[in-house]
Structure formats: C-alpha cells, structure tokens
Symmetry: C2
Subunit: 209 residues, 2 copies
C-alpha cells in the first residue's frame, strides 16, 4: 500500500464526524476524545478544507457548537452540516410546510424557527400515539405525501440505557402510508454532497472520518 503522504496527495478536504470522533457525549456536556482538539487545530491550520458532518438531530447546531467550544474545539456553526438545517433547506426549496415530529423538548426545534409548520396539537411527547397519528393523517390526506426523516438511526445510548431513535418511527409511518421516506443525514449521498459543496471539494478529493 502506498505511504500516507502519497495516498493523501490528492486530498483537498476532510469531513469530520462529531459524536464518537471528536467527543463522547454524556453527563455535563461529554468529554473530548484524547488528541482530537489538537487534531482539529492542526487540520484547520493546514491547506485542507475542514467540514464537520454529523447526524446529530436532537441538539441544535448552536447547542452542539457551544458544547464543543467549551471542550476546547475551534468550531463554528457555519462549519457544521447537520440533518435539521439541511432539512430546512429542502423545505424552503420545495415550498413545503411540515408537520414536525421532534422528540420531547429537544433544542433542535429552534432550527425550524424560520419554517412555517403545521402542528395543531403539538404538545408533550412528540412520539406519542396522538402525534404519530396526526402525522399519519396529514400524510394520508396528501396526493403526494413527503416524509423526511432526520437520519434513520435504530437507537442510541444514554446512561439510562438504549433509547429508540428516529428510524423505527420512520419505518412505522412508511409502512402505515405505503411510502418511502427521504433520509436527510448520513449515509444519504445528498447529505454528503451538501457538506462537500459547502467547502467546494469533490468527492474524490475527500477524506472522511
């Protein structure tokens, strides 16, 4: 195999994941992974373009970036590609007015502040039967129903144990309505493309980690 220097010759940009790569989430804002603060600083001081690409869909970018800055990372909101703002972009481009199903009181809600939404009964726990049924009824009344899912994770870990992620609820609505969701987030090629466009780098010039 070619040495690293040679293999990296054509690389112009780096996509960095956040959770599990830069830091481990947890109580009190989580902890930086050893060496990652310095690695980000060196990458940003190099000739390489750097973009942060995450499937985080519970925190807003503001909250996420604030947390990372407190851990010592040189990062700003404008450098982050995340499902919620990518979804807002799609909603605006297509002129869609969404019914939002967002996990109970999550700060990611603020990402949608500029979007006109349909949520007549928005209250309490988002993945309640009532809210799921409202979303289902909205979809069934449309001639061309659009279901956008912020990622398709099966579950995530919290200190209290495993927690159902958005993917199972996406599958539930897909099955109920006989439709296929559009996944905004990794591993969707469109999502990666939007991250690349933000730094003006082609896929073959990219290192992703």
């Amino acid at each position: 195999m070619a040495p690293w220097g040679e293999r990296l010759a054509g690389v112009r940009g780096v996509l960095l994941d956040i959770s599990g790569v830069l830091y481990d989430s947890g109580a009190g804002g989580g902890t930086a992974i050893a060496g990652s603060v310095e690695a980000v600083a060196r990458l940003k001081g190099s000739r390489l373009k750097v973009r942060f690409c995450t499937n985080e869909s519970q925190k807003s970018r503001a909250e996420l970036v604030g947390q990372l800055r407190r851990l010592g990372f040189d990062i700003s909101e404008g450098e982050v590609t995340a499902p919620a703002p990518a979804t807002c972009q799609i909603l605006k481009e297509r002129g869609l007015r969404p019914y939002l199903l967002i996990h109970d009181g999550r700060p990611v809600r603020s990402e949608f502040d500029q979007i006109d939404i349909i949520n007549p009964n928005y209250a309490g726990e988002s993945f309640s039967y009532q809210n799921m049924n409202n979303a289902f009824q909205v979809l069934m009344e449309l001639e061309n129903p659009v279901l956008i899912s912020l990622g398709k994770g099966r579950y995530y870990k919290e200190t209290s144990g495993l927690m159902l992620d958005v993917g199972p609820y996406m599958k539930a609505l897909e099955y109920a309505c006989g439709i296929k969701a559009e996944v905004v987030g990794k591993p969707s090629p469109e999502f990666f493309k939007s991250a690349l466009q933000a730094i003006g780098v082609e896929a073959h010039q990219l290192l992703s980690m």
Copy 2:
C-alpha cells in the same frame, strides 16, 4: 364454471370474518349487514361446520360476542378464533412471559388475565414513546427476542378518521431490534390452521368469507 351445488360438494366447513362481513362497527355497537343474521342461522342449521375468524385485537371475545348477540347473531365465545386468545395459547405453550403493548384501555386486555406479564411501567397510552422504549429494551436484553404482533394492520377507520393500527408499531420494533415479528392473525397460515383445527376441517374442505 361449475354450478354452486357442485362446487360446494366437498365443502365441510365455513370460516366467517366478522367485521365488514357480519356487521359494520360504529357508534352504539355498529349495525348488522343486511341478511347476515339469517345467513349465519342457516349455515349453523346446515351440515356445515361454522367458525368465526377475526383479526379483531381491540375488543375481547366476550365484548365482541355480546355486541353481535345484541344485533341478533347466534354466536358464542367458543366459536371465535381471534389473535389475542391465539397468542395466549402460544405464550402458554412456549412458557413465554410477555411485555404487553395494548392500545390504551382496550378491553382485549382481559384476554391476558391468566398470563404472567412483565409490565413494570404499564400505564397510560400503550404506544407512548416510554412504553415502546420499554418493549424495545426488553427485546434487546434477550438472547432470542420474540416479538408477537396481533395482526399487522396498517390502519383502521373510526368516525373521527384513520387511526394507526398495530402494524406500524410492529415494523418500528422489527427495525429497531433487527428482528422479524411473528404475526398472529390473518393472513398467517398458522392462524387459519388453528381455526380449522377448532372445527376439525381440512383446508381443502373449507369455504372462507
């Protein structure tokens, strides 16, 4: 095509669906479909074995049969094959102790009165995020997780509109856990077989409607 008399020559039993065949559900116990009370009486007066086979998984057999008797049908609990009692049979045979996810306050709960269940946090709306997550955690802790679904309906109609049925929630847990549910109810062959066994009739001797 052969005349009815000839085609029915080998028929020894009849499986009758209930909802949409005998009656239409609705406010005040629903209404009998024209001619169905008389048809059931004639079938039961004939040489044919009759069995009622339903995917009803919200009402208990007692409630369903009471409702049908008030509409004039000659029917008793012992003549009904339904997902809940069929599931109890499976649970007993395999010695399984279930975590029950049953829609809020449904009378079908009484079918499981004789079953030892795991429901530490059973309260309120069954398809809440909390109850779904509890079921998910129970499944993930098992070496060989078993998910039994009472039917796999996508939705049903109420006067207030379309309502999510159990199928979407089955799909959610299948996806979350990477498992395949066992469906107890139509169109599962096992379910039909149990109805046939109850009247001692072979599949080729059956008329189903």
